[in-house]
Amino acid sequence: MATYLTISEINHYLKSLFDKDQNLNRVYLKGEISNFKSHTRGHLYFTIKDELSRINAVMFMSAAKTLDFVPEDGMNVLLEGRISIYEATGNYQIYVEKMSVDGVGNLYLEFEKLKAKLAEEGLFDPQHKRLLPKYPQRIGIITAQTGAAVKDIISTIKRRYPICETILFPTLVQGEGAKENIVKQLTKAQAYDLDLIICGRGGGSIEDLWAFNEEIVARAIYNSKIPVISAVGHEIDFTIADFVADLRAPTPTGAAEMAVPSIIEVKQMINQYQLQITKLISNNIKQRKQAVNNLSSKQILKNPLMMYEVKEQKLDNLIDQLNKRISYQLQNTKALLKSKISILQVLNPLKILAKGYSIIESQEQIINSTKQLKIDDMLNIKLYQGQIKAQVKELTNNE
């Protein structure tokens, strides 16, 4: 007669076997951390693994607070602890008491090396980034045929922009053959008259995402003639594919949102344009009307005679100015003449003659010295009134 155990009973039994084993009570392990989670209560949960195998690990807060570094995925570490069974799930795990860093995680090292190499070659340079079409008609999707990523991408595209065609190029996204598969589909996709390619997968551990850190995948993305949006994992995951792609999306859903516009917004935009055009035209005509009004309201068009009035007035002013100028000139000349006349009056010899002086001439010469004369010369004496003819009788030189 068989005895049926409950699950709790068998798990409890197995746990007691583990706990009795001296070897399991104190184990030293080395491996790489992945799936690292820090619980809010301070306990750390992660997986420790090598190339072939893995084991779950837990480090309770009391032990975790003695750590002198922040553990993260990809780190190679040395562990000390005991291995036991968590009865609730039946999983065995290592209860870590001490942990220290064992060099840099190999995958991270590879990642950084490849990143540096491709950056050096210029694969990430902004000038190689292709412009994404604003209104794509046909989008290629390179991801796993099943799973959340393909659903998220296609349903988001259909919701936002249902008139866009999608073609799925199904590929392995993790594990053996994934990188070759991605490259093959990227190459095939070139022949399908696509406006855009979305290439990616949903979230996972760094190992799960690793295909997108492979050099051949990076080069295939770089060589694509069609713009590529990368959408690998979650917001925090950065892969080489992200650096080389024309645009990095934080998630597959994000990639679809970046790839297509919202058809509602496009319709609104076109309506807006129609309103804008009508407004522009009516403003344009209004402005021209206003310009015509402004011109026709000018005084000169209303009263063209005014133009003459202005000129006439100007003419009058000029005449006035001219008159003023002439009379001034005339007065000046008159005054000048008057002064000259008075000078002349002073100098007039007749005036001197009136006082009793006279002028003596001989042979058409005015005589002012006896040396000019001889006895018997004829003299003509001019008086104030009348003349006298005379003859020289005697000459006295009064020197």
Binding site: Y135, I163, E165, T166, L280, N284
Partner: protein
């Protein structure tokens, strides 16, 4: 006009071009009216394209390299 039909993107670009020309006020009056009717025609074409376009069926590239319809289970 036997030219290849313009894409939605090209028509929209033409429309935007006319709007910026109208905004700059550099077009004379006679041509303004022409541009207006052209722009309205373009806007209508865009709207029609959006209205008449039907939801496209998703495709998948099958093993045999043929395109087949692809349904995602919601």
């Amino acid at each position: 006009m036997n030219k290849k039909e313009k894409t939605f993107e090209e028509i929209l670009a033409d429309l935007e071009q006319i709007i910026s020309e109208l905004e700059s006020g550099s077009i004379d009056l006679d041509r303004t009216i022409d541009k207006y009717s052209e722009a309205m025609k373009l806007a209508k074409t865009c709207n029609d394209k959006l209205k008449n376009a039907t939801t496209k069926v998703n495709k998948i590239l099958a093993e045999n390299d043929m395109l087949e319809d692809f349904k995602i289970d919601e």
